[in-house]
Amino acid sequence: MIVTTNLTKTYGSAVVVNDVSLKLPRGGVTSIIGSNGAGKSTLLALASRLLPATSGSVTIDGLDVTTTPGDMLARRLSILRQDNHIAARLTIRDLVAFGRYPHSKGRMTADDEKMVSDAIRYLGLEALSDRFLDEISGGQRQRAFVAMVLAQDTDYVLLDEPLNNLDMKHAVSMMKLIRRIADELSKTFVLVLHDINFASIYSDHIVAMREGTVVRQGTPREIVRSDVLNQIFGIDIAIHEIDGHRIGLYYV
């Protein structure tokens, strides 16, 4: 379980995350939704010790993220931020293999190699695995980053906008993959998503943020409703039930 207690992050006088106390249960897919600047990405960065909190605390299965040794946390929790820029020329296989670093410390066993190959295959990158990161498209790069995080094989996987740069086909297969891994390997995913319909269809739990605070949380059925979405995003979104899925129509 990920528990945040009175978590706050400020930059000068700007409060980005404001007194967030949240319990995210183990297992399943949790999506964090909200407008730009609502504090979603910052919350994820705080939870994964990439940013120090101004006040408050985060624990992962009872371990405080600021005091637990980094390599121990790296075997329980992985994080992929949005807008990753790697200047180093690494092949996809090299990159994904570094996902095993917390386990292998650079000495790859046969098991490690297998996990790397599996992760590359899950994301459909076999044919590209020897290409350098600067020779592939943005969407392929995004899939390579996700493959790296999956190779890390942690109980908790935090992904900030995993659908960044992906076309429709790859966005859907990414969400299906996340769902499948969560179900079959009982891992816990926490995603920041912009498309409420992906959140609606693929999540077990939705957390809605606005101006640095959590305004609502619940099942997709509880959150994906016109009145609730209006409170979160400040626009009118008509909700239609199609094939048992609640779909918001926000284009018009």
Binding site: S48, R49, L50, P69, G70, D71, M72, L73, A74, R75, S78, I79, L80, R81, N84, H85, I86, A87, A88, R89, L90, T91, D94, F98, G99, Y101, P102, K105, G106, F132, D134, V149, Q152
Partner: protein, 320 residues
């Protein structure tokens, strides 16, 4: 493995050539015709062997330092002479000469490495304020910083009549290398080996702070280790043979072109190409204007800038 063996063979051939090129007549014939204590054997042992070892050690260490600096700064143009490390090391040696002229060699080295470390840490701190995409700004800031430090060093050297020392540190030259005057460079080799042992950490650091933390490494610790290695190597090279321009810039970039930036894979090649290039330039410097010598700083300035232009102007250049 085979290409690497070929590379080693080429460096060995260059090293053997280096033993037999020079004004004094040293050849297999003259060695066999004379005794152990005669001229040719003494020239070989006191001058040629140390010079050749110095070339290999300095070339290897300087090129690998370039690789490390590029990973730490996450920029292809970073190397000790473009980020102010060389200038700071010179200022450090100068400071010792002025304040404590009688200081022992280890003390001088520690002070100069300390200056180099402080300056490079300041440089990385400035970098953190810049967007990662500002590729070309990075070396500009580094050269600027180096220029400022160099100005201070020149002023002090001028005041204390130490311009000659400053000049000897600024221009790489192996012609003065004799037995007993190059052994510090073995420290460089030890640090190069350390860099190889720690290679994965430096590759991870090259992915940036977020990836490093995610993979459970202490980013500050990795960067500090890298900076310490680069600073000591730079100080050692500056004081024994003088600055070797372009090496740390051109060699890692050439290797990266074909092998990428996985430090574990590139370090052996960077070391080999670094040693080979320095050997070749030094041998050429001895031959071109025979019986006089052209210092390696000048030779590499010409060859290195040519290679650098190639890297910049080739098709699909991705440096910037």
């Amino acid at each position: 493995m085979l290409p690497l063996a070929l590379g080693i063979a080429v460096v060995l051939i260059l090293a053997i050539t280096s033993l037999f090129v020079g004004v004094s007549d040293v050849s297999l014939g003259s060695l066999l015709a004379s005794g152990w204590n005669d001229g040719p054997m003494q020239v070989l042992l006191v001058s040629r062997v140390p010079r050749t070892l110095a070339l290999i050690l300095a070339g290897t260490a300087m090129a690998v330092s370039g690789t490390l600096m590029q990973m730490l700064a996450r920029n292809r143009f970073a190397e000790p002479s473009t980020v102010g490390t060389v200038e700071a090391a010179k200022l450090g040696f100068l400071a010792v000469l002025v304040v404590a002229p009688g200081a022992s060699v280890p003390v001088k080295l520690v002070v100069a490495s300390g200056f180099a470390l402080a300056s490079t840490a300041i440089f990385l701190r400035i970098l953190r304020q810049l967007p990662i995409h500002a590729t070309l700004i990075v070396p500009l800031i580094g050269i600027l910083l180096g220029g400022v430090i160099n100005a201070i060093a020149t002023f002090i050297a001028y005041r204390f009549d130490l311009m000659q020392s400053l000049a000897s540190w600024s221009t790489g030259d192996f012609s003065m290398i004799l037995e007993g005057r190059y052994e510090l460079l073995w420290i460089g080799l030890a640090l190069t080996v350390l860099a190889y042992v720690m290679a994965d950490r430096f590759t991870v650091a090259g992915m940036g702070r977020d990836f490093t933390v995610n993979l459970g490494l202490d980013y500050r610790a990795v960067v500090s280790l890298g900076l310490i290695i680069v600073s000591i190597v730079t100080a050692v090279i500056v004081v024994t043979v003088g600055m070797i321009p372009f090496l740390g810039l051109v060699v890692p970039n050439l290797v990266s072109l074909t092998l990428g930036d996985n430090v574990r894979r590139t370090v052996p090649w960077v070391a080999l190409v670094g040693a080979g290039l320095v050997l070749a330039c030094d041998i050429a410097g001895r031959i071109v204007n025979y019986p006089y010598e052209i210092p390696i700083g000048t030779m590499l300035g010409v060859v290195g800038s040519g290679l650098f232009l190639y890297l910049l102007l080739r098709k699909n250049a991705r440096l910037a």
